[in-house]
Amino acid sequence: MINFDEEIAKFKPSLEIDQAEEVIYNNDMTDISDILKELLKGNKENKLND
């Protein structure tokens, strides 16, 4: 049985077109490649320190 109030609370407002720019700038663009690159970079630095 659906609890209507809880279900309605799940709905979020939709972004308007004026807010598109904000969405684009705040987009988290980090992907696995970036993480991997950071990891490799950290390993390299650790080796140099050793």
Partner: protein, 467 residues
């Protein structure tokens, strides 16, 4: 392949970057995994499993954010689900990573080239947000009104369908909610929210209730199974034919009551119209006849006038040339002046009087000419009349009565009051035994000059003639 560290281009077969020495094995695996997810997302999108496609494409982009195909497809799917802002964001980011030769250009232009459509989509988003506020505040009916407008503005806005269905379910309008969920399901077949609400709607009420509804549940399950009735041979049903006959009779009665009067009325109307037309035609004909008669009368009158005018024209005397008209007067005047220059005993006005006698004074227009003519006549006529009387009297005495009459007549012409001339005219005719003319002149003497010394003799002679 592009080295993720130094961005230099190199062969795909290389395991290490030639420029920066970065190990590319792991990177290559990551890119391959990203492409696998993209392929999976594409396959799901083709069968309208948009929710599943979004999950696969998001995984693809988490592995490789520069996977342009995955990002563009993600934008298309968002746009298909009515998420316009999310779609535009994905295409803009895609264009950021690959500014040239990117399909995202086409998609962005497609949206931006139709400002009316874009505005309509934005209005749908705003109304959805308003409806959501209404719904959260408990104004479900207002929210439903707004959401119906949203679905009209953007018929692919799945979130609006979900919220509208939920509110309709809350209001107990399950059938309407179901219709909207079916529409949402046609856009995205595997949307979990759609499926959840549909499941809620399709759940039998009896199951949702307590155990008392078991019988109803069993009935509903078997409601599609109809009992087979026992075979019965169809009997000829006479009532059908009776009903048919009654129906025909009622139909005919209605025809007679409703339609026939109308037809008759129309016919009468047409007949009346024809009668009116005929009467009008007759009246017109009579009017024409009257006009013709009137015109014929006018014609006869005009012909009469024309004839009259012709006769008047014929009766007109062509006026002589004015110079010719006045010539006798001038000639007489000239002669008169000549005679005046002579001694009194040598003067002879006879020729002048003859000229003046031929003049018709009625044709003279100027008073001066008439006056001159009158003066000349006054001056010449008595003298000439006396001369002719003397000649005529001498001829009478010589018993030349015929010749005497000529001169006496001239004397009477120039002096109509000379009773002696009239008397001797009568005597001359008497001598010639022309008693009729003699009686005429005797009568003039007796009647016009009763006091003259000739009146008594004229009476006696007239008595002689009449005896």
């Amino acid at each position: 392949m592009i080295c993720p560290n130094c961005k230099s281009d190199m062969s795909d077969k290389r395991k290490r970057c030639e420029r920066c020495g970065t190990d590319l094995t792991l990177y290559r695996k990551i890119l391959r995994a990203s492409n696998l997810y993209y392929n999976n997302g594409l396959a799901r999108a083709k069968v309208r499993d948009l929710s599943g496609a979004i999950i696969a494409l998001r995984n693809s982009l988490e592995l490789n954010k520069t996977n342009i195909n995955a990002r563009n497809l993600m934008g298309l799917i968002y746009f298909e689900m009515g998420e316009t802002v999310a779609a535009l964001s994905e295409w803009v980011i895609s264009k950021h990573f690959k500014p040239e030769d990117n399909d995202a250009d086409e998609y962005i232009n497609m949206v931006q080239s139709n400002p009316t459509k874009l505005d309509s989509l934005n209005q749908a988003i705003k109304r959805y947000n308003t409806a959501l506020n209404f719904a959260k505040q408990g104004s479900g009916d207002l929210a439903i009104i707004q959401l119906k407008k949203v679905t009209a503005l953007n018929p692919r806005f799945i979130r609006a369908f979900h919220l509208l269905s939920l509110l309709l379910m809350k209001e107990g309008e399950d059938e309407k909610a179901k219709r909207y969920l079916i529409r949402a399901g046609k856009i995205d077949v595997s949307n979990t929210t759609t499926l959840q609400y549909m499941r809620e709607l399709e759940k039998p009420e009896s199951l949702a209730k307590d155990g008392e509804g078991n019988l109803e549940a069993s009935q509903s399950k078997t409601s599609s199974i109809m009992p087979i009735s026992s075979y019965r041979e169809d009997k000829p049903n006479i009532l059908v034919f009776v009903n048919l006959v009654i129906g025909v009779i009622i139909g005919l009665a209605l025809f007679a009551i409703l339609i026939v009067p109308s037809i008759t009325k129309n016919r009468v109307k047409v007949d009346n119209q024809e009668y009116i037309d005929y009467s009008a035609g007759l009246a017109l004909q009579e009017e024409k006849d009257e006009t013709i008669n009137s015109l014929e009368e006018d014609k006869a009158q005009l012909e009469k006038e024309v004839e009259q005018l012709h006769s008047e024209i014929d009766s007109f005397v062509i006026v002589q040339d004015k110079s010719a008209l006045y010539d006798p007067l001038f000639e007489a005047t000239g002669k008169y002046m000549i005679e005046l220059s002579k001694p009194a005993r040598d003067r002879d006005f006879t020729a002048i009087a003859d000229i003046l006698a031929s003049v018709d004074e009625s044709q003279y227009e100027s008073e001066a000419s008439v006056k001159l003519l009158s003066q000349l006549r006054t001056a010449s006529y008595p003298i000439v009349a006396k001369i002719h009387y003397n000649i005529g009297h001498d001829l009478y005495n010589d018993a030349k009565y015929d010749e005497a009459i000529i001169d006496l007549e001239k004397a009477m012409t120039f002096d109509p009051t000379d009773v002696d001339a009239i008397y001797f005219m009568a005597r001359s005719y008497h001598r010639l035994e022309d008693f009729e003319n003699a009686a005429v002149y005797y009568s003039i003497v007796i009647k016009d000059y009763p006091d003259s010394n000739r009146a008594g003799d004229a009476k006696d002679y007239l008595n002689q003639i009449q005896e």
